[in-house]
């Protein structure tokens, strides 16, 4: 098999120039879809029969949790590609993904606490779902910390990638925790194998929000990777030229 195309994909310069054209569209798409989803979910979706209006925090809580989990796989895959192919760009993606994932995990935990107080009667409980989600936050923080723990970029990237890979075992645990153990957290509303246990009028805006969060995630990851490219490639000719052009204009 010819792996040439794969190596060309790993050129930071190619990535920087290609994504330049995507950015305005991604900004526009993220802004539009997120505002449509938020307005729809917060103002137009019907309230819940039991929980009233407090259920509406689901429109932030669930998409943030979704991307916190999916983002971990993205970070770990980028780390694995970096380890196997020694691809610099891949490590930069991994480094950019860590703070975004940590922020989303934090949002999921905080919105969960705010939601928990009026519905369960407690901000925080140590059940399997919530505890495993807290471990995810620590894994993200660990990967971030390792990026700054070494003088050499190569050593930092390798250590971060290995921690990211080890941590992947936590993702299915978080996902299945509500089925494997008795937890206070309710089981999943959106299931892979059957229809969602949510009225369509409430479910449609949630889907829009999840899509919006995916696009926002892609945008944040690209912006983060681009700034990491500039930082690490600052001594190369093309970045110097770019800076010089910026100064001239």
């Amino acid at each position: 098999m010819n792996w040439q195309w794969f190596h060309r994909l790993g050129s930071p310069r190619w990535f920087y120039q290609t994504t330049e054209r995507w950015l305005p569209w991604l900004y526009l798409a993220a802004l539009t879809i997120l505002s449509v989803g938020l307005t729809w979910g917060l103002a137009f979706a019907p309230e819940d029969a039991k929980q009233g209006n407090s259920f509406r925090i689901i429109y932030i809580h669930v998409p943030a949790s979704f991307l916190a989990l999916a983002g971990y796989y993205i970070m770990a895959s980028a780390g694995a590609i970096g380890l196997i192919w020694k691809m610099k760009l891949s490590y930069m993606v991994m480094k950019a993904a860590a703070p975004i994932g940590a922020a989303l995990t934090f949002v999921a935990l905080v919105t969960g606490a705010i939601w928990g107080k009026p519905t369960w009667g407690a901000y925080w409980v140590w059940d399997a779902r919530i505890t495993s989600m807290l471990i995810l936050l620590f894994l993200y923080l660990g990967v971030i910390a390792l990026q700054y723990a070494y003088q050499s970029v190569d050593a930092a990237s390798k250590a971060g990638a290995i921690l990211a890979l080890v941590g992947t075992v936590n993702i299915p645990i978080i996902y299945k925790s509500v089925d494997w153990w008795y937890t206070l957290h309710q089981p999943a509303t959106i299931k892979l194998t059957s229809a969602p246990s949510m009225h369509p009028d409430m479910f449609q805006p949630l889907l829009v929000m999840i899509l919006g969060f995916y696009i926002f995630y892609a945008l944040a990851l690209i912006v983060g990777t681009r700034s990491e490219i500039l930082r690490r490639e600052r001594k190369t000719g093309w970045v110097r030229e770019l800076a010089a052009a910026e100064v001239r204009s």
Binding site: P46, G121, V166, Y182, H199
Partner: protein
Amino acid sequence: MHPLRKQRLQLVLLILTATTVVVGLVLYLLRENGNYFYTPTQIVSGEAPQDVFLRAGGMVVDGSVVRADDSLWVQFKLTDGIDELTVEYTGIVPDLFTEGQAAIASGTVDQQQVLQATQILAKHDENYTPPEVADAMNQAHERKKADKARQAAEADAK
């Protein structure tokens, strides 16, 4: 694939498999300890430890909630469909705490097999429905029940 890269790919897969096996074994050993609460059956049958702080979870039995007139004392029964456990608590219960809904009570089980709770949490399910839809569903359910009762009464009359 270059042999060196193949070797590194194998290393990555080894890391993944090893951590999965190790964590899987740990979780297998922990099993029940990962549970946030015991079911009424586990407590009544003596499977749950006595005289220590524990949590019991189940459905609040319909018609079992008794409140004191002059204090915040409340008594109710939790069931998992098999056994029932009586719970006593003094304090404010969460908004979502109602009969027929799931709740979790934390406290210690006394000599009379009554859970003296220090905290009540309401557990809500994964279903979300607008009030009108929920009302319509309840009405349909009531109508079905009334129909059944009438049929039974007619059968008795015959």
